[in-house]
């Protein structure tokens, strides 16, 4: 899209149309990408509730979490952090799991890394 001139845009940086954030593709900002792991998703929608970019895709009719909108997801990892299934994955006392552990429900893997 050709950038607009000062005469063509609303004054003062105002945005006159509501709900146009969807037009701004922020997926390219991502350093880490959310992917589904081995643990079974319980479709609790915690990730959907917390995602700051509305990037959790759901099938509302069947009440299923179906994946990630990678055109807008910035890779903040909040979905993985709030996932209650992730916190139930067995680990040794005092041991941290790696963010990309394959046993997790939502894993964060380095963007650009090819696997599977």
């Amino acid at each position: 899209m050709e950038p607009k001139t000062w005469q063509e845009i609303p004054i003062g940086g105002m945005i006159l149309e509501a709900g146009n954030a969807v037009e701004y593709l922020t997926g390219g900002w991502r350093a880490f990408r959310p992917v589904r792991g081995e643990a079974d998703c319980t479709h609790c929608f915690q990730c959907w509730l917390f995602c700051p970019d509305s990037s959790i895709l759901v099938d509302a009719e069947h009440e299923q979490m179906t994946g990630f909108d990678l055109e807008h997801c910035k890779g903040c990892g909040l979905c993985a952090a709030v996932c209650p299934v992730n916190s139930k994955v067995m680990r040794k006392a005092g041991q941290e799991l790696a963010r990309d552990d394959v046993r997790l429900c939502i894993r964060m893997i380095e963007e650009g890394r090819s696997e599977e």
């Binding site: 607009k4 000062w6 609303p10 004054i11 003062g12 105002m14 945005i15 006159l16 149309e17 509501a18």
Partner: protein
């Protein structure tokens, strides 16, 4: 019918606020502006205005509340001075950038430190690049008249900028003068109703104010502010013309006083212009061809018009009630900008700067007369003795 009342400059401005009846006023008291806020609080308490009066904990909050209310579509006014303005600083720029037509009484006072509550222009000169329109007032009458016009100027669809109306701390703000107060209905008729084009409270068409604005469009928004300033010069004159027609008081970009046939002239703003007029009259009685130019509109700076008004003179002195520390010759800001205007518009006249009155130091007719005597010598020699004089400093 208008009435003549004995009012301080602060109360004159508060009276304009009462007649304008703004939707929101958010202000914090600071000497010597306090009286304006006190009197306006009385008008609110007595039910004489419908204004939502927001008492805040600081000037930073006052200006923030003003920006929010203005974005919501309200007609907004406030008042401050000196350190209060300094505390507003961050939001002063935001008010202009978000194109909020807030009208502010700025009672000029020295910036600390050492701490001082008396008059000079160091507060307003600091905000000269902030994007606000700045009007000077010689008297309580002019502060009152400028307040009424400021509403129309700022809210004009081609402008949409905040406006600061200056008057001198204590000298004007606390001195009681005869002020003509127009009929409430006439003032209300003149300012009209504010119909904001983009209200945040318009739930049918929601919009966003103040989003992140990076290298892709920030520059374009600054260019728009330039356009608004350019339009403002025309709008200020149109509003003045309508005001002059309705209230029979003559305002323009500046006031020339016995300037037309003068050979030397002084440029000085606010209350000192009143003192200087007395000196001009005395010297004229002695047969000296002296004149005065009193700037009214400082932002936008009418460089060409000022240069043209001073073109015929043999010597010019600027009196600055502030110093631009470290600027060329440590001169005052009014001088520096006027010198640039004269040079750009081909006016080759000896010009000198006289810094005076800092921190409320009295400026007496005899001192102004000494400036005119310097000017007359400069006119004879074709050059000034000193470029910058710190008048009456010990």
């Amino acid at each position: 019918m208008s009435t003549f009342e004995a009012l301080t400059g602060d109360l004159a401005f508060a009276t304009a606020m009462r007649q304008i009846n703004p939707d929101v006023v958010a202000a914090y008291p600071i000497t010597p502006q306090t009286e304006t806020v006190e009197h306006f609080a009385d008008f609110v308490a007595d039910g004489r205005v419908d204004t939502e009066f927001v008492t805040v904990e600081s000037e930073h909050s006052a200006m923030s509340a003003c920006v929010g209310a203005s974005a919501a579509g309200a007609r907004v006014m406030t008042a401050t001075c000196a350190n209060g303005l300094a505390l507003m600083w961050e939001i002063v720029y935001i008010a202009a950038s978000l194109r909020c037509p807030i009208v502010m009484s700025l009672v000029n006072r020295a910036l600390s430190g050492p701490i001082n509550i008396h008059c000079d222009h160091s507060d307003v000169m600091g905000m000269r690049d902030s994007g606000w329109i700045v009007l000077f007032s010689e008297s309580g009458q002019e502060a009152y008249d400028n307040a009424i016009q400021a509403v129309r100027i700022g809210e004009h669809p081609d402008v949409l900028l905040p406006v600061a109306v200056c008057q001198d701390g204590f000298i004007t703000s606390h001195a009681m003068e005869r002020v003509e107060i127009y009929e409430d209905t006439d003032v209300k008729g003149f300012v009209g109703e504010y119909r904001p084009q983009w209200s945040l409270l318009d739930l049918e068409q929601p919009k966003t104010y103040g989003p992140l604005d990076f290298y892709d469009y920030y520059y374009e928004h600054k260019r728009q502010q330039v356009e608004a300033m350019e339009q403002a010069q025309r709008v200020i004159q149109e509003v003045a013309e309508e005001f002059n027609h309705k209230f029979d008081r003559n305002y323009g970009l500046f006031e020339p006083y016995r300037l037309e046939d003068a050979e030397v002239a002084l440029v000085v703003a606010n209350s000192t212009a009143g003192t200087a007029k007395v000196v001009v009259n005395q010297l004229r009685d002695e047969g000296l061809k002296v004149g005065l130019l009193k700037p009214r509109v400082f932002r936008p700076f009418p460089g060409k018009e000022l240069a043209d008004a001073l073109r015929h003179l043999k010597a010019v002195a600027v009196m600055d009630r502030s110093i631009s520390f470290g600027a060329m010759d440590n001169a005052g800001p009014l001088f520096l900008e006027l010198v640039a205007a004269l040079a750009l518009h081909g006016v080759r006249v000896p010009v000198a700067d006289y810094v005076f009155g800092l921190g409320g130091r009295d400026i007496l007719p005899g001192e102004i007369e000494s400036v005119y005597q310097d000017l007359i010598r400069a006119a004879e020699r074709g050059q000034v003795e000193r470029r910058v004089t710190f008048l009456s400093v010990r």
